[in-house]
């Protein structure tokens, strides 16, 4: 059974432009073209991450106040 998102189609250049704009980035056209060229490789990496991982594997949601108090 598939547990990642690699079955999804790659984002189109227009979708990449939209996502970038929504992230608050206003890139010059030359830099945007470069980003559109490299993003699919990074998108593929992110989509290969397994999605059925136990939340206890890494308690990223945890906050340990003693660490802050102890400096």
């Amino acid at each position: 059974m598939r547990t990642d998102l690699s079955h999804l189609p790659p984002s189109t250049p227009e979708e990449i432009r939209t996502m970038t704009r929504r992230a608050g980035l206003d890139l010059p056209e030359e830099l945007m073209q470069q980003f559109i060229a490299v993003w699919p490789a990074f998108e593929a990496m992110v989509r290969r991450i397994p999605r059925d991982l136990d939340r206890a594997s890494e308690p990223a949601h945890s906050y340990r106040p003693l660490r802050i108090v102890r400096g």
Partner: protein, 253 residues
């Protein structure tokens, strides 16, 4: 999440350098408050009986053609010193690269966000195009990658219960030209230096040969359990006592 450390001619120089810079830093959340060992004292030149796991499948395919034979020669040199070397299987290089890249680009973007929004043209092309993707990483991607990191790190920790250190290549290819217009290799192939960043293990890369076509160094990577820098240095130093790759220079003319 990246590894930082000294860059020197020899393992002995690293031991001396590390002795000066190692120690607890209360301002650094990633710093461990543990005693600093005598790194120089670890350089005994003797590694007989050490158990070393060889992660060959990370560089067996898709690497520079001169790398596997150079690694095989390095393994034989270490065996000649009395190390006991066995092949070991870990998750794929692709898995480690996917996990590490997702985490690091999200964290890098959070560091550079202001500058990327106000003066993106001031970044070098390769760095900019490695950091900008962090803007599109979703919270769930980041958290899942952190969970995956813990699983991959445990895999390494379990393996290091059977071995004193792990061996693999230090790079899959020779160095690129210092040309900012070169394509970024991370986009096209996984990175063999990322797995031990995922595990947070001390790792050291040392020259183990030169490529025939380019005349550039090939390298061997040694990693061990957290805080086992003395073991890593001991192995590298012993290897450098019986080889001279670290003293040779590439002919760049």
């Amino acid at each position: 999440m990246d590894h930082c450390g000294p860059l020197t001619r020899s393992a002995e120089d690293i031991a001396l350098f590390l002795q000066v810079i190692a120690g607890f830093d209360a301002e650094d959340a990633g710093s461990e408050d543990v005693p600093v060992p005598d790194y120089r004292a670890a350089l005994t030149g003797r590694i007989e009986g050490l158990r070393l796991g060889l992660v060959e499948h990370w560089y067996a395919h898709g690497a520079h053609p001169d790398l596997p034979p150079a690694m095989a020669a390095a393994v034989e040199a270490l065996r000649g010193l009395g190390a006991v070397i066995e092949p070991v299987q870990l998750s794929s290089l692709r898995d480690y690269t996917d996990c590490k890249t997702t985490i690091s680009i999200a964290e890098l973007y959070s560091i550079h966000e202001k500058d990327l929004k106000t003066r993106p043209q001031d970044f070098g092309r390769i760095l900019r195009n490695r950091v900008l993707p962090g803007a599109l990483i979703r919270a769930e991607d980041y958290v899942q990658a952190l969970r995956w990191r813990a699983i991959l790190a445990r895999e390494q920790a379990q393996t290091l219960k059977r071995f004193d250190a792990l061996l693999t290549a230090g790079a899959l290819n020779v160095a690129d030209r210092a040309d900012p217009d070169q394509p970024d290799r991370l986009v096209s192939s996984p990175s063999i230096t990322m797995p031990f960043s995922v595990g947070g293990l001390p790792a050291l890369a040392i020259p183990c040969g030169f490529s025939r076509a380019e005349g550039l160094p090939l390298s061997l990577q040694i990693a061990a359990a957290p805080m086992a820098e003395p073991t890593v240095l001991r192995i590298a130093h012993a290897y450098q006592l019986v080889t001279d790759w670290h003293r040779r220079h590439p002919d760049l003319h």
